[in-house]
Symmetry: C2
């Protein structure tokens, strides 16, 4: 294994950031194509920037945040957090005690690691389910979690969503929805209702996922629960700081479902193009993706011999895409525990109007390089870490 | 008790932020005087702002952060975190296990609550000491913490600082220094060495304390320890986001010891002015302050009858200072657990050139109002929460 643990993932990310910097400096921003679907923005006017002081900033932006967050997520009260993961940690610190149980329902494994990790910190038992018939709520359960849309954009069925909430509420257990990308994917693309409108008590979304906001988390829900989460967030420094809050407000204001819808209309053409030569791509709601398994299978079909693990192959391809073609994907720059699936999101600003033939050429050419490099473990390691 | 728990503290802060907003809207920024010493800035050029994207931003600013952080704090590697508290949480998550021991040495009680609270989360034993002769490192200790300068700006003696580090290192235990304001107060004012230069393995400072940076935390230290802390920070969303990193870099670049030195030169005049009529003020390195005790004693001397607790009296005065005079102090806007001491920091941008007579009048007039209001518990509660 080349990328074997969280420290390796941190080092890989550091290496990717260095490559991005050097491309920026050498060829400029236009030579980078961020298709992560996580390319957040930082929209701010000069007047707003002048207010970005410790105590004056939040005073001004907090009111507007409440208004915009309620429009976007519903609920009684909102709370801006530093990241979706820190919102999940704050929620679990506030609502779950040692020995309690947390049940998590999602459309498909794996769950985002911040949920079991946060349970582990408070020493709570944790179970996850993808089959509603197996879904159980143990006696000492203090929190039920639902993932609206997984890291790989698998969206939960709305009827199951409602059923899990009902099961939890029958027993007076609050429901937290991890709607990181789901708050937009589920509503704009799958025409589902907002989590709070379906009865969720707390919801958290990522303000950089499929919307022009900053990397950050936005929570909404029942006022008394938000207040409890806010205490933990403030105690441990998990809340969003004024510059993020400002950019979140403007991100929501500038969000429209248009880019998502446009990406969907182009993804079928893109998928067809890719599938002529390759059978490793799958459709996502807003583009195409390659999973660890499909990549491994395609290499096996081509009789490529490699010592690399399936995951390492994804990391390697992501680094080649970045180094050779300037294409930024999550396996290159993701935080520890992020999915190794290589996703090409067509809804991002960098590719929303890009000629798909050009994008295809870049992917095709980087794959050929991958076939060559992956036979050489030493060279692969260099490409990932240096 | 009016402000009785963390939730009350959150509500009090929300109320103070509303007052700040209304003053801003009605009378403009010039009618607010932030003397918290926490009035961070957000210095950024237009070009830099354009780079504030999720993955492009950190790629660009990360290198510069390493350079500037090393200049400011020393050490082998730096890490930007969302707040000093989140850096402390990340450090304890990384280095301390259940049943381990953490020993904390500081100049004066109380310790910043994020340290015992983080120990509590991982179920570690925690002890704090202000007397070097009593200072003990238990057998199963995995971390020694030193506070460079307390929330009330009590600075540790440099010889004791070195002695605690030596005691920890004799037993191969890493030392984390909470140098929130100390990284500047100790060095610029008390001419002490930087924590890393004194042998500390990790240090964290607040980039909004006594420097023109954003609310946020900056860590530095041994590379292998920073890497371990970084993993936890990334896993739980405790790291600083690109807008903060950018503003931290510029905050350090724009920091000079001048304002601190100037504040010191004015504080004696200010103290003399205040002490003519009042005996409740004490000097701080950069201004004057009123502790819970001194406030209570002065009211007793004046035979004022009040049902308010000592802490509530501080909160009430802070809210009157804000509502009536536009003076922002920490007890009004602080996070849960922040000190109730009312500090008037003369080094902040808003008062660095202010006529001290004008500032005196404001403090004097608000104190007279306090004497009146504190007799009426209902009215006091309204002023704090509404």
């Amino acid at each position: 294994m080349i990328v074997d643990n969280s420290l390796d993932e941190v080092k890989k990310r550091e290496s990717a950031l260095k490559v991005i910097k050097s491309i920026m400096e050498k060829d400029g921003r236009a030579s980078l194509y961020d298709v992560t679907g996580l390319s957040g923005g930082f929209i701010a006017s000069e007047d707003e920037l002048n207010l970005l002081e410790t105590y004056v900033g939040p005073a001004i932006f907090e009111d507007e945040l409440q208004i915009q967050a309620k429009k976007h997520l519903g609920g009684e009260k909102a709370l801006a957090v530093n990241r979706t993961s820190s919102g999940i940690l704050a929620s679990i610190l506030a609502l779950v005690k040692e020995g309690d149980h947390v049940s998590h329902f999602l459309a498909q494994y794996p769950a985002h690691p911040s949920i079991p990790r946060s349970c582990n910190i408070v020493k709570a038992d944790y179970d996850e389910y993808i089959n509603i018939d197996e879904f159980k709520i143990e006696d000492n359960t203090s929190l039920v979690v639902i993932t609206g849309s997984t890291m790989d954009h698998q969206v939960i069925d709305e009827d199951l969503f409602i059923r899990v909430i009902e099961m939890a509420h029958e027993r007076d257990i609050p429901v937290l929805v991890d709607d990181a990308s789901g708050a937009r994917l589920r509503t704009a693309v799958f025409k589902q209702k907002r989590a709070c409108d379906l009865g969720a008590d707390l919801v958290v979304t990522s303000t950089d996922k499929l919307m022009p906001g900053p990397r950050g988390g936005l929570m909404a829900g029942k006022e008394n629960l938000i207040d409890q989460v806010k205490i933990k967030a403030n105690q441990f420094g998990l809340e969003a700081q004024p510059p993020l809050i400002l950019a979140m407000v403007n991100g929501i204001k500038n969000y429209s479902e248009e880019n998502l819808i446009k990406a969907i209309s182009r993804k079928d053409d893109f998928y067809e193009m890719l599938s002529k030569d390759y059978k490793l791509f799958e459709k996502t709601p807003t583009g195409c993706m390659v999973s660890e398994n499909s990549l491994k299978n395609q290499l096996d079909d081509l009789d490529i011999e490699t010592e690399l693990s399936d995951k390492d192959l994804c990391f390697l391809w992501a680094m080649i895409l970045l180094r050779e073609e300037g294409i930024i994907t999550i396996p290159a720059v993701g935080m520890p525990g992020a999915s190794a699936t290589i996703r090409f999101d067509l809804s991002t600003q960098d590719v929303i109007d890009m000629d798909l033939d050009v994008l295809y050429e870049k992917i095709d050419s980087s794959f050929k390089k991958l076939l060559d490099v992956c036979k050489d473990s030493k060279k692969s390691k260099e490409l990932i870490f240096n």
